[in-house]
């Protein structure tokens, strides 16, 4: 038996329900389903889906390889461009990327299921632990990668392939970054993020040092001194604060911590959740927190966003997913004050907003939603300790198209970079491209081989 008691409690559901609630959101395609789905691909010339993919995977080719019974070849096509193609297949908002560009939308408003097909092929290869890459002859160069998230792993892998030795530093106990800590549990079941890290690292030549934080255990200057090049894939480690009355009351929590805790929990029953939950924000983090609160047995979950539906960063699909799980999404409401009782959250006062001449303005009208837990999902921030003189702008690292920063031999990629897209797949592309850039610099500086008669 579960419980509907007020307060923030674990075990709200009967034990068996957790497993089904947190099962794979999109179950994998079996072989027959994959063949049927792959048959729908038209093998477009200069395909729009490929252009829409931040990592430029040759989508028509990998789908054709599936359709001809060659999932291993298909996986190689994917990994050639995106070594984290397995996770991207699970978490990419394909409805706004490749699948949005699919020409099938024009014909019948139903794209080829590119994401699920990508998962099919990568699952086959990873299940067989099929390794496609061998390291080039060792170059003698050493590169430090800071952050074992999507950008860092992609960079490390590509550098290792090129024959360079890589040391990856990560502040967390486990590698994977957002893939391990920042994604809803139902999108990455069966410890997939760690399996993928192992798969990526099996290329060899990559040493990972977990529990090592930039600015605490070492500085960028230290790395610059010890290594031939440095890649920064730091992500966004901070969270924005509300700066409101009552923010310190018990029960006001960061959505990212809640999401991380859920991912690290085996049973999910041990993760406490309120009976009435309010989530503040309009992005994927807000949706992930709200949906999972509901799946944990919260009676009432409300997302409050200070702008309209059309302004939400969460995709249409994610919004529909939340609605289907019973989450209420309310727009044009901004938090004003958190009501507390005995040091605990009792509710939240919100103020209606409107757009006046393009500017968000409070109308003065307020209302209160009773709540015993409030999740903040109003954005993450870059924590830049230990970076020395590295040039920042708008709180992010400035880097060019190849990932070169203001300091020689320091590259950066992923969410920590100005213009980063808050997408796993974009981070992978940036890490990969920075690795290529580093490799080019090494190659240009390498002493030419002397011909011996």
């Amino acid at each position: 038996m579960g419980t509907t008691q007020s307060g923030i409690l674990g075990g709200r559901l009967p034990l068996g329900e957790y497993e089904s609630n947190f099962a794979d959101l999109h179950p994998p395609l079996d072989k027959h389903e994959a063949l049927v789905a792959s048959d729908r691909c038209y093998f477009c010339h200069d395909a729009p889906c490929m252009a829409a993919c931040p990592t430029s995977i040759d989508i028509p080719l990998f789908i054709r390889q599936i359709s001809t019974g060659n999932p291993i070849g298909s996986a190689k096509t994917i990994f050639d461009q995106n070594i984290l193609g397995g996770m991207c297949a699970r978490v990419c908002p394909t409805e706004t990327l490749c699948e949005q560009a699919c020409v099938r939308n024009t014909a019948e408003e139903r794209p080829v299921e590119i994401g699920r097909l990508q998962r099919y092929a990568t699952d086959v290869a990873m299940r067989e632990n099929k390794q496609f890459y061998t390291r080039a002859e060792t170059s003698g160069r050493k590169v430090a990668v800071v952050g074992a998230g999507p950008a860092g792993l992609a960079a490390a892998h590509r550098l290792a392939v090129k024959g360079h030795d890589v040391v990856v530093y990560d502040a967390r106990p486990k590698s994977g970054g957002l893939n391990e800590y920042g994604i809803a549990a139902y999108k990455s079941v069966d410890d997939f993020a760690q399996k993928e890290v192992d798969y990526v690292l099996s290329i060899g030549g990559i040493e990972v040092r977990n529990g090592q934080a930039l600015g605490r255990d070492f500085t960028l200057a230290d790395l610059s001194e010890q290594y031939d090049a440095v890649f920064l894939g730091l992500g966004l480690a901070g969270v924005n604060a509300l700066r409101l009355e009552g923010e310190n009351a018990a029960g006001v929590d960061d959505a990212v911590d809640f999401i991380a805790a859920l991912r690290q929990s085996k049973t999910k029953a041990d993760i406490p959740v309120g009976r009435r939950v309010v989530v503040l924000g309009g992005g994927m983090t807000a949706i992930d927190a709200a949906v999972q609160a509901k799946l944990l047995g919260a009676e009432e979950v409300t997302i409050c966003y200070r702008r309209g539906k059309e302004h939400m960063n969460a995709s249409e699909f994610e919004q529909d997913l939340a609605a289907s799980k019973g989450v209420t999404i309310r727009h044009w409401l901004q938090p004003k004050r958190i009501a507390e009782k005995d040091g605990k959250v009792a509710g939240i006062e919100l103020e209606y907003t409107t757009l006046e001449e393009g500017k968000l303005t409070a109308t003065g009208e307020t209302g209160i939603i009773a709540a015993d837990q409030i999740f903040k999902a109003i954005g993450q921030s870059f924590l830049g300790a230990g970076l020395g003189a590295l040039q920042l702008e708008g709180g992010r690292i400035v880097a060019d198209a190849e990932g070169r920063t203001s300091i020689d031999n320091v590259w950066a990629g992923g969410d920590c970079v100005l213009g980063g897209e808050d997408l796993t797949v974009s981070a992978v592309a940036m890490g990969r491209d920075a690795a290529e850039s580093i490799n080019r610099v090494f190659a240009a500086a390498a002493p030419r081989a002397t011909a011996v008669a």
Partner: protein
């Protein structure tokens, strides 16, 4: 309501859809089910001579190729003629014919190429009340190794001889079933006619190996690690069958000889096409073996509704209607000029027309116009080949538009000549002759 009643060489059936001689017509149980489902007639699975029946392999008898979603496109088989006792078959045929007097029941027969053998079996078949016989000169495997089936069908002299015996020893109409495993289908048809056949039916199955098992390096279907060629049928063979039917229908020597069309007929539309090319009725097998007997309901209603929509009252209104439009290449009008046209509203921008034309044809379709992805036909390069129409995944998105006489063909820089002119009169043809006055 269109009248679908069929009278084929005097054999009447309520509709032109017969089941071909094959596994679905091997015994009373199946045939009763077929008639209940609405089939107009059946050609009973081929009877052999009296005595111990043939035996079949006990491993796989069928192989296949598939299209999208495992839709069966082609089937092959290595099954032989009926492996049941002759008298069991005859008894059942008699009973079924009594139960279904309005349906056509034809006996397919294959016995050794000896007069006595045919003389012996024909009275037995006649006694069942069967409406006619079909001579199996087509079976391409097993029986042909024993001098029967296709081994007869590939020698026009044998065909003529056997048909003559049959016409001599039975009053039943004789339908001669032809094998496609021959260079010129008109030769066996002419021979059958010379022997006095009432009709021909075609095509029988085509020699084939459907696939090779790449783990065991054996053809499919493999029986104990070895395979043999089978008879190919199903939707994939329809174009071959249509051509062979048309060849016989338009051959002056066999013109007017009734044809029962066979080969990949799966829908009413397929059937209508065979009728238009000169078939008096059609026979179906693979479609039934894929989907069951119920598909005849779609065939009947589809044919009837199409005939109603087009004002065709009965089968005679459509049979052979396309035959006058089948001609030799040399008579095609070289002054007919068409250009592809892409409907930009229907275009989904897959780019297949462009890459097909660019890589393999005439470089006549754009990919970008003013830097925007845009597929458009360049009339000054287009030869009107129709490849883009065929590769486009959207029906009617690309169409071939005839250039009216007098308009400028941008490719040649000359106006379209209104006069019909073919290769026989073309100046580049060393054999050119003056057009007949």
């Amino acid at each position: 309501m269109a009248d679908l009643r069929n009278n084929f060489v005097g054999i009447k059936s309520p509709n032109p859809f017969w089941l071909a001689s094959a596994p679905p017509t091997d015994k009373a149980y199946n045939v009763e089910r077929a008639f209940k489902a609405g089939w107009g007639g059946v050609v009973w699975k081929t009877l052999g001579e009296e005595g111990p029946p043939v035996v079949n392999v006990n491993g796989p008898r069928y192989g296949a190729i598939w299209g999208a979603d495992r839709r069966l496109l082609g089937l092959n088989n290595i099954e032989l003629i009926t492996d049941r006792d002759l008298y069991v078959n005859l008894r059942e045929m008699k009973q079924v014919k009594m139960n279904w007097p309005d349906r056509a029941l034809i006996a397919s027969i294959m016995v050794p190429c000896e007069e006595e053998a045919w003389k012996a079996i024909l009275p037995l078949v006649e006694e069942t009340g069967a409406d006619g016989i079909e001579l199996n000169f087509g079976c391409p495997h097993g029986m042909s190794e024993r001098g029967m089936g296709a081994a007869v069908g590939q020698v026009p002299e044998y065909i003529e001889m056997v048909v003559r015996w049959c016409k001599q020893y039975t009053r039943m109409p004789v339908i001669t079933k032809l094998t496609p495993n021959i260079t010129d289908i008109r030769k066996p048809a002419r021979a059958a006619k010379a022997g006095g056949t009432d009709a021909v039916s075609l095509i029988n199955t085509i020699n084939s190996i459907v696939s090779v098992d790449l783990d065991n390096f054996a053809p499919n279907p493999a029986v104990g690690g070895k395979g043999t060629h089978g008879g190919y049928c199903g939707p994939a063979v329809k174009p071959i069958a249509l051509n062979m039917v048309a060849e016989i229908a338009r051959d002056p020597e066999t013109y007017g000889l009734p044809i029962s069309g066979i080969g990949g007929i799966t829908t009413w539309r397929d059937a209508a096409e065979f009728l238009a090319l000169g078939a008096g009725n059609v026979q179906v097998c693979t479609a039934a073996m894929t989907y069951g007997f119920k598909i005849v309901q779609e065939m009947i209603s589809g044919l009837s509704d199409w005939m109603d929509a087009k004002g065709h009252r009965n089968l005679d209104d459509i049979t052979g209607r396309a035959v006058p439009n089948v001609t030799d290449w040399q008579y095609l009008n070289l002054n007919y000029i068409a250009k592809a046209k892409i409907d930009q509203d229907a275009c989904i921008k897959c780019g297949r027309c462009h890459i097909a034309c660019e890589d393999t044809s005439h470089q006549a379709i754009t990919q970008f116009v003013n830097g925007v992805r845009h597929f458009e036909v360049m009339e000054d390069e287009c030869v009107g080949c129709n490849l883009c129409v065929n590769v486009c995944p959207v029906e009617n998105c690309i169409t071939m538009e005839e250039l009216p006489a007098g308009t400028l063909d941008q490719r040649t820089g000359k106006p379209v000549d209104p006069n019909y002119a073919n290769w026989t009169t073309h100046p580049n043809n060393p054999m050119a002759r003056q057009a007949a006055e």
